[in-house]
């Protein structure tokens, strides 16, 4: 049975629905990342879990106990805030002790547990440091130690890395992951950075406009996105309008511009009926060729250096879609005409969806 369950959570603010019938469940010790653009309701979801907001509908269950209306004080959920919310007038040790004191921990035991929590985040001996004397990464770890010290049932992280500069982020991300794994606490993390979500989450839940679009492991989201939003939000992709001609031996035959491509069926969705469709392509799923049979004619518009290969932006013939393609560094110039074909192992890189978007 799952340890933490969100059942049909609904939250409205002044008529707009911030969280729309959201259901999720986590096993004990699992780490779930809530991923979505700003305004997708992920932070509201976290605040509903922490008890700072009361849902307009639905329930939150921990270990079978309904905590939906429980005050934050009584909930025993640890939270790491986006800007850490460390108490500036208390030193690092007193910050960590704050939650333990609420539990009535006093004296020697208090000191020991504070020291243990700080050691856990690799800040042993930092008890008497003032918050202002700590670097951003250290503040972040004190915030984590403070949240973990009272041994909460669930840990909530609100954009834990957004305040760090990029060079620090990756390292801190690893540290957070290691600490949480060691403690084995059930964790929900909110982020708008997919790298963060993929790296920290056992599973990732993609939210849009308060609704759950898809939940799955990072691989599942990348290879079998449930809809165009997930496909475009997770990983890089370009979209273009195509026409489905019908099933073929390998999968589906589609018309792209003046060319026809035979695509492997990759996504688990049912085959599309003939007619217009939306195609989402990962940059690595297409290749550049000489203009010729089976290729769509395109013009190179931009080339960006990304190491051993280059990221080309090409405009397909007949106007319209600009798409991105990763290909080896070629001797092509901006403005030159090339052909575009699916890679031989396009595999999970091309997705077809019904074209019901305007």
């Amino acid at each position: 049975m799952s340890f933490l369950r969100l059942e049909d959570l609904v939250k409205r603010f002044d008529g707009t629905v911030a969280v729309d019938r959201l259901s999720l469940s986590l096993d004990r010790g699992e780490m779930l990342a809530l991923l979505g653009p700003s305004g997708s309701g992920k932070t509201t979801t976290l605040r509903l879990l922490a008890g700072f907001e009361v849902p307009d509908g639905g329930r939150v269950l921990v270990d079978g106990e309904d905590v939906t209306r429980l005050e934050p004080v009584a909930r025993r959920f640890g939270m790491v805030f986006q800007h850490y919310a460390l108490f500036p007038h208390l030193d690092a040790g007193d910050n960590v002790a704050f939650g333990l004191e609420s539990l009535g921990v006093r004296g020697e035991e208090l000191g020991e547990r504070v020291a243990r929590a700080l050691a856990l985040v690799d800040l042993a001996g930092f008890e008497r440091r003032r918050i202002s004397q700590l670097s951003g990464g250290q503040q972040q770890r004190v915030a984590l130690a403070r949240a973990l010290a009272p041994e909460p049932r669930v840990l909530l992280l609100d954009e834990p890395l957004s305040n760090l500069d990029p060079t620090l982020r990756e390292r801190t991300r690893r540290e957070i992951r290691d600490v949480i794994r060691r403690v084995g606490i059930t964790t929900i993390l909110v982020t708008h950075e997919q790298d963060e979500a993929f790296d920290l989450g056992d599973r990732v839940a993609v939210l849009r406009q308060g609704r759950l679009e898809q939940t799955g492991t990072p691989d599942e989201l990348y290879v079998t996105p449930a809809n165009p939003f997930v496909a475009s939000f997770v990983g890089r992709s370009s979209s273009l309008r195509v026409e489905v001609i019908g099933p073929s031996e390998r999968g589906t035959r589609v018309r792209v511009g003046l060319a026809e491509w035979d695509l492997e069926r990759t996504t688990s969705q049912p085959p599309l009926p003939p007619g217009p469709a939306l195609m989402l392509v990962r940059p690595e799923a297409l290749r550049l060729t000489a203009p010729g049979a089976g290729a769509v004619i395109a013009t190179i518009r931009e080339r960006r250096f990304v190491g051993p290969s280059a990221l080309y932006t090409v405009v397909l013939e007949g106007g319209g879609a600009a798409i991105e393609i990763v290909a080896p560094q070629l001797a092509v110039r901006i403005g030159e005409q090339v052909g575009v074909m699916p890679s031989r192992r396009a595999g999970g890189g091309i997705h077809l969806f019904p074209d019901h978007l305007p």
């Binding site: 700072f52 934050p72 805030f81 986006q82 108490f87 007038h89 939650g99 609420s102 403070r146």
Partner: protein, 551 residues
């Protein structure tokens, strides 16, 4: 959480209290000005408009206020530029000295000018001797005397706000202007002044409102010159109560009109601090002569600014009736100070002011804190509570004194009116109303600067409301609380304008004792009281500055 039941009841209760204490008395003034026993009437309004003296007083108030703004700006702004842009000898000390007029409560400042430039004043006597005149060279009376006192005590607003504005300008702005080929004047006109505008507008509003509400200077130096604040008191003494109400309404309208005209310009919350970026370094003056001249000028000016303080100090050591025509007092004594401690009649006002100001400040801080918690935090009727608490600032003290006197001299419990006039409770109440804008402004700003997630963090760590308040909110609000409370205490401790209308013999505060000592020509004791007030103000300001900068 934002709408918990007890919080909502608390907000409603606070709102009712504020309406009763602040709005209701003002409404009663309006009613009393428009009513006679038989019913509604416009007779008193007509009377008001028919009397030339009323028009004179209204015009006098407006003229004094506008002229005070101009004069205060003319002194304060150049000083702000001089001291923040140029490297002068002893610039830091000068910067502090120049703000010293702020430590003189209005009545004390007026008294100092009386000793300095009044008919038998220090400077007047010197001039009279030097020129061998039979009579004092001038009569320190009328609009120019009032304006001089105003300019002296209010240029500090322009000086402090101007300095804060200049300090918040990033060095790169000057560099950018220079790299774009702008000379010193063009930079000043196109870059510096436009960005100073909000600070200057704030200073102008403060000066205008303070001048409009000013009572001590016109009361002592007005002579025959009429302004509305003194006119109201005179009319009331004449027993023309309804006319006094109409006058009060006219002064309120004038104040609100001025605020409305200057709406949208806000004084910075903390004129003394809060700079961003790199403040420009002071410009060293290359030419030694310029440097010496400017330094000399600044020091002489600072010396002149200190004359009132020094005079006050000097007079406070003069035995009763010994100093008549000599340029310096022939004898000195500490008797005047001893009298403040020994003579029960003299001790009483000190103790009165102490407890009145303490009670009023404690109440104002508690209400502002409650208001801050309810509205700044939980968004419960936030705008309304904050607006009501700020309202007394927009209304001259005389108006509130009249309003409170009108509201609380009648026993009608069901109409929310009780007889408090003549009891010890009316003055703390009046001080409280006058203190609310000061404390609430500081405390609301403190709440706004407080990250709401700190409280959430506290809750998620299992701390209840009381523990969150005690361990997180109050410690972090301490600078704001100290700032608000100290300013409020100083204002109440030296209050004259409301006290003169509401005091009883048993609750007479220091300011009234100063006035009666002056009337009895007991100038030494009056000056000693003044020095006490000055020192209390200075101590509180110094403490506030230290706390403010210390975090």
């Amino acid at each position: 959480m934002s709408g918990s039941r007890s919080a909502r009841i608390g907000a409603a209760g606070l709102l009712l209290l504020l309406l009763w204490l602040i709005v209701y008395p003002l409404v009663l003034v309006l009613i009393e000005g428009l009513r006679e026993p038989a019913g509604w009437t416009l007779d008193y309004v007509r009377l008001f408009f028919q009397r030339p003296s009323e028009w004179q007083a209204l015009w006098g108030s407006l003229f004094i206020s506008l002229a005070s703004v101009v004069l205060a700006a003319a002194i304060g702004l150049p000083l702000a530029f001089l001291l923040s842009r140029y490297e002068l000898f002893g610039g830091r000390i000068l910067g502090g000295l120049v703000a010293l007029p702020a430590v003189l409560p209005p009545l004390v400042g007026v008294m100092a000018f009386l000793f300095l430039a009044g008919e038998t004043g220090f400077v007047s006597l010197l001039v009279q001797r030097a020129l061998n005149l039979e009579n004092p060279p001038w009569q320190f009376q009328g609009p120019w005397a009032i304006l001089l006192v105003h300019a002296y005590s209010m240029y500090v607003y322009f000086y402090l706000f101007g300095r804060a504005g200049l300090a918040s300008l990033d060095l790169s702005q000057y560099e950018a202007a220079a790299s774009l080929g702008a000379g010193r004047w063009r930079t000043l006109r196109r870059v510096v002044l436009p960005q100073l505008y909000p600070s200057l507008a704030g200073a102008a509003i403060l000066t205008f409102m303070s001048s409009l509400a000013s009572f001590s200077a016109p009361y002592i130096f007005g002579g025959g010159y009429r302004v509305m604040t003194t006119q109201i008191v005179a009319t009331r003494l004449n027993g023309e109560n309804e006319l006094a109400m109409v006058e009060t309404i006219s002064l309120t309208i004038l104040a609100l009109l001025a605020l409305w005209l200057l709406r949208g310009t806000h004084a910075p919350d903390n004129p003394a601090g809060g700079r961003k970026g790199v403040a420009p370094a002071r410009i060293p003056l290359r030419h030694p002569l310029t440097r010496r001249l400017l330094t000399g000028f600044a020091w002489v000016f600072a010396g002149v600014l200190l004359l009132p303080h020094l005079t006050l100090l000097l007079v406070s050591f003069v035995p009763l009736g010994t100093w008549t025509t000599e340029p310096l007092p022939p004898a000195y004594t500490v008797e005047n100070y001893l009298a403040l401690v020994r003579d029960p009649v003299r001790v009483r006002p000190l103790l009165n002011s102490l407890w009145l100001a303490t009670v009023a400040t404690a109440l104002a801080v508690s209400l502002a804190l409650l208001g801050g918690m309810l509205s700044a935090r939980r968004r419960l009727r936030g705008g309304l509570i904050e607006g009501l608490m700020a309202l007394p600032w927009a209304v001259p003290g005389t108006v509130f004194a009249i309003a409170l006197a009108a509201a609380f001299s009648v026993h009608a419990p069901f109409a929310g009116r009780f007889i408090l006039v003549g009891t010890v409770w009316i003055l703390p109440l009046a001080y409280l109303v006058r203190n609310l804008p000061i404390t609430s402004r500081a405390i609301f700003a403190g709440f706004r600067a407080l990250d709401p997630s700190l409280e959430e963090a506290s809750a998620s760590l299992g701390a209840g409301r009381a523990r969150t308040l005690r361990r997180v909110i109050l410690p972090l609000l301490r600078p704001a609380l100290v700032a608000g409370a100290s300013l409020a205490f100083v204002t109440a401790f030296g209050d004259f304008v409301t006290s003169i209308m509401l005091y009883t013999y048993d609750t007479r505060p220091i300011s009234l004792e100063i006035l009666s000592s002056l009337r009895q020509s007991d100038v030494g004791v009056a000056a000693a009281y003044g020095v006490v007030l000055m020192l209390v103000s200075a101590t509180v300001f110094a403490l506030g500055a230290e706390r403010g900068s210390g975090g």
